[in-house]
């Protein structure tokens, strides 16, 4: 009975109180406007994908969401609270971030990197408790790297590194996970694996994607950005259309239904980009 009422509450929450809500957000890099007047909402437990060509402002928007940069105009609320009103530690307890790449570093082990997720939950001199160690162990198991716990992080492959970063996010125990193109420069297998792994965590996720088909397969909601403007928001089947793909990405496509998950699937046509073709012919001569 209890479970059922909880379920009811969470559904109503989904409708009435989004976990994250962005209204009229604008951000300038110097004098150049990078993001203009962006508004959207992210329901609790949903997987939101961000699409857009290079330079559309996906990373900048995510950076606003995780407070790395602060927007000039507009408001971002998390659980109905302005995110600027939260302390660094409070914010980090609720929002975890997986970035595109990590800089080269010295010899931290997989364990050390995953343990970083404890930072927002720990005071200055506190040691790792038994619970902390168990949490770290479970997180590493969950991403399938138990045999590499003591291995140097630097020696891992790109896909393994991103799995470690997800394990770190698991240890951070956030309500919201933000991912900035976590699968670029990974093999197809790992692109699917990483995103499915993230989705399996069952928390609210906002991730930017390069691969439109992957986003279509996994996301409940898509945001499409072009030159800092929000072009479309909605479910994949509403958003992914041939017209949108032509307008935003400048490609010629056919959108069909995927045989397995029935979300839109994009097939690209080649030789339709006039400027590219002219350039190619120039090369031939």
């Amino acid at each position: 009975m209890c479970k059922r009422s909880e379920l009811l509450v969470s559904t109503t929450n989904k409708i009435n109180h989004p976990l994250l809500s962005v209204s009229n957000l604008s951000w300038y890099a110097g004098n150049t406007q990078i993001l203009s007047d962006i508004s959207f909402q992210v329901p609790v437990g949903s997987f939101t994908g961000m699409l857009g060509p290079n330079g559309a402002g996906k990373s900048s928007l995510l950076r606003c969401l995780y407070r790395y940069i602060s927007p000039e105009n507009g408001q971002i609320t998390f659980n109905n609270q302005d995110i600027r009103s939260l302390s660094n530690q409070e914010f980090a307890r609720n929002v975890a971030v997986v970035l595109q790449h990590t800089p080269q570093q010295f010899n931290l082990s997989v364990f050390d990197v995953v343990a970083l997720g404890l930072i927002p939950h720990k005071t200055m001199f506190s040691n790792n408790s038994k619970d902390d160690l168990a949490l770290i162990k479970t997180a590493i198991e969950q991403v399938g790297l138990s045999d590499k716990t003591q291995v140097d992080f630097e020696t891992l492959s790109g896909g393994e590194k991103q799995r470690v970063m997800i394990a770190r996010a698991i240890v951070q125990r956030p309500q919201l996970l933000l991912m900035d193109e976590p699968t670029s420069h990974l093999d197809v297998k790992y692109q699917i694996q990483i995103m499915e792994l993230a989705k399996s965590l069952g928390i609210t996720i906002i991730a930017s994607f390069h691969d439109i088909n992957l986003a279509s397969a996994l996301c409940d909601q898509l945001l499409v950005l072009k030159k800092g403007n929000l072009q479309a928001v909605g479910q994949p089947k509403e958003v992914i259309t041939e017209v949108m793909l032509s307008n935003v990405f400048d490609v010629c496509t056919k959108v069909s239904q995927h045989p397995q998950h029935h979300a839109p699937h994009v097939t690209y046509f080649y030789g339709y980009n006039s400027s590219d073709r002219a350039a190619n012919q120039g090369d031939d001569k």
């Binding site: 995780y66 407070r67 790395y68 302390s87 660094n88 530690q89 409070e90 914010f91 980090a92 307890r93 929002v95 975890a96 971030v97 970035l99 990590t102 800089p103 080269q104 570093q105 010295f106 010899n107 931290l108 082990s109 364990f111 050390d112 990197v113 343990a115 970083l116 997720g117 404890l118 930072i119 927002p120 720990k122 200055m124 001199f125 140097d152 951070q172």
Partner: protein, 333 residues
């Protein structure tokens, strides 16, 4: 329990090194004599040994140990906050600032030795670090890059001032400065030891407290910010601490290069950087290394002390090259 063994080995090495440092020198004492002196059993029967141990070698060895640990920690701090394996206290102009202070004190105020010279060195290095922070400390983006570049530029700037002042001063001052820059522990006195000891211990405590945050910085500023770490503030504090470490040591011992750069790397060959125990091991290994350098400086030449800086650079670089070679061999297999 591999890490337990490692700590045990390091602690044992520390005890052996310290007793050796007390025993070996111009007048060789036996280990037995040293032990008797330490526990104060030969105060009357072995006056000579007792006063050598307590008045000469003990303060000197403590200073050597503290200097080694402090410089190793300063190097570790700087390598961590800049994510640059080549960072060490000397790259940031801290020691050129100290040299500048010493030259000014010697040539303009006519100070030859003692406390005031140390004080001048201290002020000089703080001046260098103050300028560095003014230039780079408050930039939010690319703080690391501007710190490294400004540090190198300041280092050269202070060196040129130093050279200019030397050019105008008499040869005696030039020799004195040269010896000062090469480093020595012969200025060790009991009443000057407390300050560097205090600085080293407080820095170790602070690094213990901030160890998780420092690890986070290794994985990039942006990632650390998302974990709730105030990266820019922490970096400025750590930079100040490492300059305080370097300044308090350089002021007493003169310029001792290469330890800050090398010891953290040597420790990294054996133990991961992520844990608090690696901090302790780095500090201890730095101290042990310096004890042996000091012993070498006393015994290599008869009736004469070889400057510390020459030995640290020579031994350190050879040892480091060997480790690199060994690691290459290992990775080939």
């Amino acid at each position: 329990m591999r890490s337990f063994t490692l700590i045990a080995v390091v602690l044992l090495a520390l005890v052996v090194s310290f007793i050796s440092a007390l025993a070996i020198g111009a007048a060789d004492l036996s280990f037995y004599q040293v032990l008797l002196s330490i526990i104060g059993m030969n105060e009357h029967s072995g006056q000579f040994a007792h006063s050598i141990v307590w008045q000469l070698r003990m303060p000197r060895s403590i200073l050597a140990f503290i200097a080694g640990s402090g410089l190793a920690m300063a190097g570790l701090i700087l390598q961590t906050i800049t994510r640059n394996p080549l960072a060490d206290p000397y790259l940031f102009g801290i020691s050129s600032g100290a040299s500048f202070g010493v030259v000014v004190a010697m040539t303009m105020a006519g100070i030859g030795l003692g406390f005031y010279l140390s004080f001048a060195a201290f002020v000089g290095s703080l001046l260098a670090i103050g300028l560095l922070l003014l230039i780079s400390g408050f930039s939010r983006q690319q703080q690391v890059e501007s710190m490294l570049l400004a540090g190198v530029a300041l280092s050269f700037l202070f060196s040129s001032f130093t050279s200019l002042m030397l050019y105008w001063s008499d040869p005696q001052a030039v020799t004195a400065i040269l010896f000062w820059t090469l480093g020595s522990f012969s200025r060790a006195q009991w009443d000057l030891l407390w300050f560097p000891c205090l600085v080293v211990l407080s820095c170790l405590a602070f690094m213990f407290a901030k160890q998780r945050q420092l690890n986070a910085i290794l994985l990039g500023d942006e990632g650390a910010v998302t974990l709730g770490v105030n990266v820019n503030k922490l970096r400025v504090i750590m930079l100040l601490l490492s300059s305080l470490l370097t300044a308090s040591i350089v002021a007493l011992c003169g310029g001792i290069g290469f330890v800050g750069l090398m010891i953290p790397h040597i420790v990294r060959f054996f133990i991961g950087q992520g844990s608090r125990k690696s901090l302790v091991v780095t500090a201890l290994v730095g101290g042990i290394f310096m004890l042996w350098v000091d012993i070498a400086s006393r015994v290599i030449l008869d009736n004469q002390e070889l400057p510390i800086g020459i030995i640290t650079a020579a031994v350190g670089s050879l040892f480091f090259l060997t480790l690199l070679y060994v690691r290459k061999q290992k990775s080939v297999i």
